[in-house]
């Protein structure tokens, strides 16, 4: 039996695909207290159990699928799953996070996490049910798209309540940015974890469970649940998310001119109204969806019911897919974006990197660096939706020019001697926005331990924190001034420790870690999070120890990356952001200053207790986190 009063299943499943063997490891109380779950578990396991320098496609790489203690309870939006491995796209720590229903089901099936090692001699899928596991043949599933895999398995097993984490042809063909999808809808998109599963010949992990996820103190739990619900009532951000989903951000990006369109050659998009949240709602929205227990319901379910791309039924779009498949390749036909997203999902490739790779190739083609004879298919120019759809397929099967696109922008840049046009950090393409003009955003994206990521920290605090709050939390009122540099390193480090808690607990950041009101960030993300974690698990957490957990995980990830050779130089934004100004729109003239960036990076390292030259955490820091 589990040593926990609630929250945890109490065991981790180890699978060796080469041997076809299984092992169950008890989840230790101390491990849970220090790493909580989710990304905390996966990062620690990868750091400890992976040998340095392994080939991400070899049997030595490890895939971890991890839940958090809140998954499976009625905690709102406790739906998130972490999938992790050494990334074949970056060579650094790789992880991705998805919503849906899979992580809760893993808990009902009796495990907190699954650790997969080795390579299977033949295609298999892993079946996990109520504390038991087996490997089943998957030769008949190999080659199928993710949606077909789901249908086939539900039919075969004769149960529509199973939950499936699968890869598509993209993962099988080792597209370096292949993703996993749970239940055909929820992408663990970034860093190429699907390609690692593909290299292991693991087509899917299927879970079904009927075990309880315990709740240590039901009364306290219920009281916290109700307090949390109250925080959502009438909140403008929540209502916007429900009405428009993440595509609500389209208007914001256009208004500020920070789209990063055309592979970061433009700040704004002509015809952006066609791909706004409002436009997608008007034309394609069937209904809003909620992941497990979600009261916000930002996910979309859309239908293309007319035109050449009909019928298409798909979840989405998300802002990020509009950015990756719309802004970057400069496509403003909303049906093409939706269809492209559907294809990325079915083939199992990350929409953001797929769009970035294609957009980079478009730029290279327009600049004459790529010649017509090198690029088969529809003309690779910005705005050509036909090319986008064509090359998504070619990438997934690594056919023709798709084979190079499937490497991602960093390797493509190296091969074509055009690295300048590869807009990535540590090999992961810059998503979401153009950080030029916002040095704290640039810092967050660049120090992120999985490569460029807008979700790894929360750099927007300086847009709304009051001088008084800034003084209390960061030691200087300057943090409340957008243009000031003072204290920003500390602010970014704090925001990383804090927002990481979402990935450890298994909750959604949009539902728990977003607000434009600093006291609300503290209330939801720290106080209520502490209450609900303590009520669920019975463990002696506190807001202070939780922040230490976030910091500990961030340090473990830093140690992992340092071991793989990612030092200070890997914590810089792409050259283009220093060299070129945003040429148009409201942000015209914005670029990053190297001097300013150096300063906030120094400041950040200092706040973190890391050596300014190497990024190495100090012995004192490691000791204080129990990592020596």
């Amino acid at each position: 039996m589990s040593v926990f009063a609630g929250g945890y299943a109490g065991q981790i499943l180890y699978v060796n695909l080469s041997e076809g063997s299984f092992q169950k490891k008890i989840l230790e109380r101390d491990f849970a207290l220090k790493y909580i779950g989710g990304r905390g578990f996966s990062s620690k396991i990868l750091w400890e159990e992976l040998k340095p320098g392994v080939d991400p496609f070899s049997g030595e790489n490890i895939v971890v699928l991890a839940s958090g203690p809140l998954n499976g309870t009625p905690t709102p939006s406790a739906s998130r799953l972490t999938v992790a491995a050494k990334s074949p796209l970056t060579g650094a720590l790789g992880d991705a996070n998805s919503g849906g229903y899979w992580a809760p089901e893993l808990k009902y099936a009796g495990f907190d996490a699954i650790v997969v090692k080795g390579i299977s001699p033949e295609p298999v899928y892993l079946w996990v049910e109520d504390g038991k596991a087996e490997l089943r043949k998957a030769k008949h599933l190999w080659g199928l798209g993710i949606h077909a895999v789901g249908e086939r398995l539900k039919e075969e097993i004769d149960d529509d309540t199973i939950h499936i984490c699968a890869i598509g042809p993209g993962g099988e063909n080792r597209v370096r940015f292949a993703c996993v999808l749970t239940d055909g809808e929820s992408a663990g998109g970034r860093c190429g974890i699907g390609a690692v599963m593909g290299a292991k010949r693991l087509k899917a992990v299927v879970v079904r469970g009927s075990r309880d996820v315990g709740i240590a103190d039901p009364q306290r739990f219920k009281a916290t649940l109700d307090l949390y619900r109250q925080t959502l009532e009438g909140e403008a951000w929540t209502e916007t998310l429900r009405r428009l989903g993440t595509p609500n951000l389209v208007v914001h990006r256009q208004k500020l001119g920070i789209w990063g369109a055309k592979n970061f050659q433009r700040g704004t998009i002509e015809g952006w109204e066609k791909i706004s949240g409002e436009a997608f709602r008007e034309k394609f929205l069937h209904k809003v969806l909620g992941c497990m227990g979600c009261l916000v319901r930002c996910r979309r379910y859309s239908v293309i019911s007319a035109g050449p791309l009909a019928p298409t039924y798909t979840k989405g779009p998300e802002y990020d897919t509009i950015n990756g498949l719309g802004a970057k390749p400069y496509i403003t036909d909303p049906a093409v974006i939706l269809r492209a997203q559907y294809l990325c999902d079915d083939y199992g490739i990350d929409a953001q990197t797929a769009g970035s790779s294609i957009a980079m190739a478009m730029e290279l083609y327009e600049r004459g660096i790529l010649k017509k004879e090198q690029v088969d298919g529809p003309e690779l120019v910005f705005g050509n939706g036909e090319a986008l759809l064509h090359f998504i397929e070619k990438i997934s099967y690594r056919q023709g020019f798709g084979d190079l696109l499937a490497e991602g922008t960093k390797i493509m840049g190296e091969r074509l001697n055009a690295g300048y046009y590869a807009i990535h950090v540590k090999g992961l393409e810059v998503d979401a926005t153009d950080p030029r003009g916002y040095v704290t955003r640039a810092l967050t994206y660049s120090v992120s331990t999985r490569g460029s990521c807008h979700l790894r920290g929360f750099p927007y605090i300086d847009e709304f924190i009051t001088p008084e709050e800034a003084e209390v939390f960061f030691g200087t009122p300057a943090v409340s001034r957008l243009e000031a540099l003072e204290g920003k390193g500390k602010m970014v480090a704090w925001s990383e420790d804090w927002v990481t808690l979402a990935d450890l607990a298994g909750v959604c950041k949009f539902a728990w870690y977003r607000s434009r009101n600093f006291p609300m960030l503290i209330k939801r993300g720290l106080e209520l999070m502490n209450e609900i974690l303590a009520a669920t698990t019975g463990l002696p957490f506190s807001p202070e120890t939780l922040l230490r957990c976030g910091e500990r995980v961030y340090n473990v990830e830093k140690l992992f990356n340092l071991r793989e050779g990612f030092g200070r130089q890997a914590d810089y934004p792409p050259q283009r952001f220093f060299n070129e100004e945003i040429p148009d729109g409201p942000a015209k003239g914005a670029k990053l200053s190297r001097e300013e960036y150096d300063r906030v990076l120094d400041d950040y390292y200092e706040a973190r207790g890391w050596d300014k030259k190497t990024g190495q955490p100090s012995q004192q820091k490691l000791r204080s986190l129990g990592l020596e």
């Binding site: 809760p104 808990k107 009927s210 709740i215 219920k222 909620g290 009261l295």
Partner: protein, 164 residues
């Protein structure tokens, strides 16, 4: 004459007022009855039909309840004339005859205890209704459901007339 039950009322014109498949009803139901997280112990289940269609299903509170009629031990009983059929746990033997008899699948066996479970309307305060973010669940009865349908039909007639 009012046999109350949980009814599903969506508004197809409003994408936020359709079941969003968040399964909060399942989660809160299992929590209310067992103080745990485990949707397979819930008395209401969201059925996913594909192509964006999801519908929560639970007990209809029948006039002549086949579950109760077939129960071989008398565990299933109706304490109040119009009220929900209830399970008396010490009499239930987990034979699942009620599961077979229920025409809509609202009788299930608890996967942990192995005994029959069904909606009891949470002692008149159904938690699924309270927590449903789409607000598509309502305490209803056949009369109200019929009236609701009639309204929908009347609106149609208002626009189209009988002939179309």
């Amino acid at each position: 004459m009012s046999r109350k039950r949980i009814g599903y009322f969506e508004n197809k014109q409003d994408p936020e007022n359709i079941c969003s498949r968040c399964r909060m009803c399942e989660l809160i139901c299992a929590f209310q009855h067992h103080a745990v997280g485990n949707p397979r112990r819930a008395r209401i289940q969201v059925i996913t039909l594909g192509q964006g269609e999801d519908i929560p299903v639970t007990c209809l509170n029948c006039k002549d309840p086949p579950c109760m009629n077939i129960c071989p031990t008398g565990s299933l009983h109706r304490p109040e004339p119009e009220g929900m059929v209830r399970v008396q746990e010490d009499l239930c033997i987990g034979c699942a005859m009620c599961v077979n008899a229920c025409p809509v699948g609202a009788m299930t066996l608890d996967p942990v205890e192995g005994l029959a479970i069904k909606c009891d309307l949470c002692q008149r305060d159904p938690q699924c209704i309270l927590y449903c973010p789409a607000k598509v669940l309502k305490l209803t009865d056949a009369g109200q459901t019929a009236r609701h349908r009639m309204k929908g039909y009347a609106k149609f007639l208002q626009i189209a007339g009988e002939e179309s």
